[in-house]
């Protein structure tokens, strides 16, 4: 997100969700900083699944939420759509505080503005593919013909044409998730939540679904909140990544930021087996230009290092060119240093994990 500031689509401010009996009262009585509150709540036998989380999602951005199992990712996105009632905090969607909406208003927002894809698909077993995709439209009371047309269109979009009359149990996992995706898109939502949509699929299908997802996003340009615990997946699709740990946000940033300057060991461990050369871009290891450098063999700032290797084997430095002007350079030396530092961090993370 280096371009000009775009409109914020969704934001949350100091969002909390505490599970357990009497969570609300216990929370309103707890005092002090976040750390302290979390400790008091835990001490009281409660589970602070989301603690004091704030971030913005810009229009058209793809924000990925990552974290280990149980770190509160699912709870967090469910708070964003109020499937789970947050204990405290604000969720601002298109300038309106979702927390202040009545039940009916919230239903309206969900009907028209939000779509969600679930890890375990959540398809209705008694409906066919077509009826499943048309389900949200039926709930809105749309006419039969309208519904069928729109659903068929969505089914085509996810590449399932011809299976309209199948029942979910007759489909493979990948196909079921396509139905889930088609259903979530049927109402043309502005905001799209995906909770580990591909985790239940085998690696090959997962890769295929990711590519498909990218293709869809390329044409649809939705605002997306995407959960995964697979950093490679995040790398592929994310504009920015939020790393969560025990309900708290540890770091927010572009994938390369996380690799080059992880906030702590936890983040470092997450990015440990990333193909560094694919994540780090020329801009990340940009150095000032000495005197003058010809624009021969110039590269752009967001070119991954992987693509520079062949050229850097020939020359020591390559110019970085933005809008026709040389703004910096990439040197073999700089590349080596960056990669060495990153892999050292990754190793440390790895050995920590083993310990």
């Amino acid at each position: 997100m280096t371009g000009p500031a775009v409109e914020t689509k969704l934001a949350c401010r100091n969002l909390w969700k505490v599970f357990g009996d009497g969570a609300d009262r216990a929370f309103s009585r707890s005092r002090g900083e976040t750390e302290q509150k979390v400790a008091t709540l835990r001490g009281g036998g409660l589970i602070p699944a989301v603690s004091d989380v704030s971030f913005d999602v810009a229009e058209g951005e793809c924000l990925v939420i990552m974290g280990l199992s149980g770190s509160g990712k699912s709870t967090l996105v469910r708070c964003l759509s109020r499937l789970v009632e947050p204990t405290a905090g604000e969720v601002i969607f298109e300038g309106r505080d979702l927390m202040k909406l009545s039940g009916a208003e919230l239903t309206e927002v969900r009907r028209h503005k939000m779509g969600m894809v679930f890890q375990s698909f959540g398809l209705l077993p008694h409906l066919t593919v077509l009826e499943n995709v048309a389900f949200p439209l039926r709930i809105q009371g749309k006419g039969d013909a309208d519904r069928r047309r729109r659903a068929a269109e969505m089914i085509g979009l996810v590449g399932l044409s011809g299976r309209e009359d199948a029942f979910p149990h007759q489909l493979s996992g990948g196909q079921q998730q396509r139905v889930g995706i088609a259903r979530s898109l049927a109402v043309g939502p502005d905001l799209w939540f995906l909770d580990e949509p591909f985790s239940a699929l085998d690696p090959l299908i997962r890769k295929q679904m990711q590519d498909e997802f990218l293709r869809l996003q390329h044409t649809l340009k939705k605002t997306i909140v995407f959960i995964t615990h697979d950093f490679l997946e995040a790398l592929k699709i994310a504009d920015r990544v939020v790393i969560m740990r025990d309900g708290r946000v540890v770091q927010i940033g572009r994938p390369a930021d996380l690799v080059l300057s992880p906030a702590d060991e936890y983040v470092a461990r997450f990015v440990a087996d990333v193909p560094l050369l694919r994540v780090i871009t020329a801009g990340d290891i940009e150095e000032p230009v000495p005197v003058s450098l010809s624009t021969n063999g110039s590269v752009s700032r967001d070119a991954p290092l992987e693509s520079l290797l062949a050229k850097l084997a020939e020359v020591d430095a390559l110019p970085i060119v933005e809008s026709g002007k040389v703004v910096g350079q990439v040197t073999t030396h700089g590349l080596m240093k960056a990669v060495a530092a990153a892999s050292a961090r990754a190793d440390r993370g790895w050995s920590l994990e083993r310990a």
Binding site: R78, S81, L83, T107, E108, R110, R111, H112, M114, G115, M116, F118, Q119, S120, F121, G122, L123, L124, P125, H126, L127, T128, F135, P136, R138, I139, Q140, F167, P168, H169, G180, R183, S184, V187, F193
Partner: protein, 668 residues
């Protein structure tokens, strides 16, 4: 330590304490007139609200008559074809063939009209049970407090014997076929309520969340998302409900007395026309299997979301309509021609007579042997059972000493050599029971054993429950009856577990045996319990022995099933590992499979006890003493208080044994 104290206490009770009669027989002076209270409370409730219930009776009578008239008026060809088509839809051509055969049997045997009357009652009671059970289930699913209340009530309802229900309903609703319907509807709403709660609770959260994200309102959420997603479980509930209704409608013939198939069976049994009894009993068996398979077939299908094409329905409807029209011109399709009917009842009676003439002596000898050497000692104790008349000699003090010496040596050996003090306690208890009989042991000693056992198994909670149960039984004056029933049940349970367990192991080790047993077990399990009385009665006449046989036939199913399931379920890798280590087949069974099957076996034991208790109540029809008979007598006198007290006593025994066994499995 505690056990030693109890043993000493019992020793004192049975020797020195004999002079204190309160220790021995629960004194009548201590009992409370609980049955009177219940009777009075009931009367106070019935008096002012009688018009309501009698009104309900009248209101139900109209649709029942209408249904009976309709089923009676429709040509048999249409109904039979309808049944066959339904069976085909539910699970294919094999069931359709079965439906055809069953219809043919009913028609040819001349049971069509009573069968239709029974079906009319089932058709009326089922929707009542399904709807009210569903309503309760939804309430229980939505409200936590309601769920606890409902589950508690359902547990009680499932353990109170069927006849005990009939009594208050009889008092409220009066005599007649409607009583059967009300009783069935109430009795059968349990499974529906339970399956509704289960089904709704099992709807995956992601489906519910998907519904929310689609913007469902509460009502849309329930009817469009939760209800259809729970459909399979709901249909399982319908299946169980229909079966329960059916069983109850049959039993209600005892008081109902309309011309339905249950009444036919009862009547023939009372007149000792066993050939007829067997033939009409077979109608019930066939109907039960058919109804079960059809509803179960639809339930199984619902999980897959397959749908029938509209064309199929049109075709089926056209065929039925065609048959109806054809029946208007061809009377043979309308009323089944009586010259086609054929009943081998007399032949069967002849065979039975010949059989009894041929084997009667051997069977009587067997029966007497079991009664004198097994049942009597257990009931009144060796001390009374052994007499010159039965055993051929009288018990001398030397023999008594010898008996106790054997018991003592076995218990001592278990304790000292095996180091298993629990086994040693069990041996002592068994010896004690055998010597004095369940009806002869000091009540206070028996109660002490049960209480201590409950405490050791389940702690203070179970102890409290056991105390309450024992207090209820004793104070209501049912102690003696309970011990009477207990001996019969205990004997049946032991026979079932030994015999059924062996069969189960055999079936698990041998596929052929398993394949042979399965349909028999299926049939036994679907059959209304009432039907099982017929063969036992036929061969052994009225008496406790017949009751024992009937209980064993019914209650042997769960041990076979659960043991086979458990033994077969033993993890193949571990079995393989054992074989690799060189275990013989028997060793594998003894050291690997049976220990691994333990949880399943415990469940089986639990089910066996519950089945035996529920069959006990039905077996009262063929002559038992004790609680079941008390209920039966109360039923004939419409005495709600006595009937409920006896019913609740059985429920107490059932719930207590259930809890104790569950505690055992938890500890394991």
């Amino acid at each position: 330590m505690a056990w030693a104290a109890v043993a000493l206490f019992i020793l004192w009770c049975e020797t020195g304490g004999r002079s204190v009669p309160q220790m021995h027989l629960f004194p009548a002076a201590w009992t409370l007139p609980i049955h009177q209270w219940i009777g009075e409370a009931f009367a106070a409730f019935t008096g002012p609200s009688q018009w309501l219930f009698r009104g309900a009776t009248a209101a139900l009578q109209a649709p029942l008559s209408a249904l009976q008239a309709m089923l009676g008026a429709l040509p048999w060809a249409v109904l039979a074809t309808g049944a066959i088509l339904l069976a085909y839809r539910a699970s294919g051509w094999r069931l359709a063939m079965f439906a055809a055969a069953a219809s043919a049997y009913v028609l040819v045997g001349g049971y069509w009209s009573p069968t239709m009357n029974t079906l009319a009652a089932v058709a009326l009671a089922t929707p009542l049970a399904v709807l009210s059970g569903f309503g309760l289930g939804v309430l229980g699913y939505r409200r936590r407090w309601a769920r606890d209340v409902i589950l508690g009530l359902l547990e009680m309802m499932q353990t109170i014997p069927t006849f005990a229900y009939l009594i208050p309903i009889l008092v409220l609703f009066g005599f007649g076929p409607v009583v059967g319907i009300v009783a069935s509807a109430i009795y059968a709403l349990g499974p529906m309520a339970q399956n509704t709660m289960l089904g709704l609770a099992q709807v995956p959260p992601s489906i519910r969340e998907a519904g929310l994200m689609c913007g469902c309102t509460d009502r849309q959420m329930f009817w469009r998302v939760e209800f259809p997603s729970a459909r399979r479980q709901l249909l399982v509930g319908v299946n169980q409900t229909v079966m329960a209704v059916f069983a109850m409608v049959i039993i209600a013939a005892v008081i109902g007395g309309s011309d339905d198939i249950g009444f036919r069976v009862l009547q023939t049994m009372r007149q000792a026309q066993f050939g007829q009894g067997l033939l009409s009993g077979l109608v019930i068996a066939l109907l039960a299997i058919l109804i079960d398979r059809i509803t179960a077939g639809f339930a199984a299908k619902a999980g897959k979301g397959a749908r029938a094409s509209r064309a199929w329905f049109m075709l089926a409807a056209a065929a039925l309509l065609g048959l109806y029209l054809a029946a208007q011109v061809a009377p043979a399709l309308d009323r089944f021609p009586s010259e086609w009917a054929f009943s081998p009842a007399e032949t069967l009676n002849g065979w039975l007579l010949a059989f009894v003439a041929r084997f009667g002596d051997a069977m009587t000898a067997f029966k007497n042997a079991v009664i004198f050497f097994l049942m009597l000692p257990l009931r009144i104790g060796l001390i009374k059972a052994v007499s010159p008349f039965t055993w051929g000699f009288a018990l001398t003090p030397v023999m008594i000493a010898g008996f106790w010496a054997v018991v003592g040596i076995m218990a001592g050996a278990a304790l000292l050599i095996g180091g298993r003090w629990r086994l040693s306690c069990a041996i002592l208890c068994a010896g004690w029971l055998l010597f004095f009989g369940t009806t002869g042991v000091a009540w206070i000693g028996f109660a002490a054993v049960i209480l201590l056992l409950s405490y050791q198994l389940g702690g203070a909670r179970l102890l409290a429950f056991a105390t309450a149960a024992i207090a209820f039984i004793a104070l209501s004056g049912s102690w003696a009856d309970t011990m009477q029933s207990l001996y019969l049940c205990a004997l049946a349970v032991v026979i079932c577990i030994l015999g059924g367990g062996a069969l189960g192991v055999w079936a698990a080790e041998n596929d052929r045996v398993s394949a042979f047993l399965r349909p028999i077990l299926d049939a036994l399990q679907t059959m209304p319990q009432f039907v099982l009385l017929i063969p036992a009665l036929m061969l052994f006449q009225v008496g406790e022995f017949t009751a024992l046989i009937a209980i064993v036939i019914y209650a042997i199913v769960p041990p076979i099933r659960y043991v086979e399931h458990g033994v077969r379920g033993a993890s193949p890798e571990i079995v393989e590992a054992a074989r690799q280590m060189g275990c013989s087949r028997l060793q594998i069974l003894r050291h690997v499979k049976l220990p691994m099957a333990r949880p399943s076996i415990m469940l089986g034991v639990n089910q066996t006890i519950l089945s035996a208790l529920s069959m006990l109540a039905i077996a009262a029809l063929v002559g038992t003493q004790g609680l079941a008979q008390a209920i039966y007598v109360a039923l004939s006198r419409a005495d709600a208080g006595k009937g409920l007290v006896a019913g609740l006593s059985i429920a107490c025994v059932a719930m207590l044994s259930d809890r104790m066994l569950k505690a055992v499995s938890r500890r394991a």
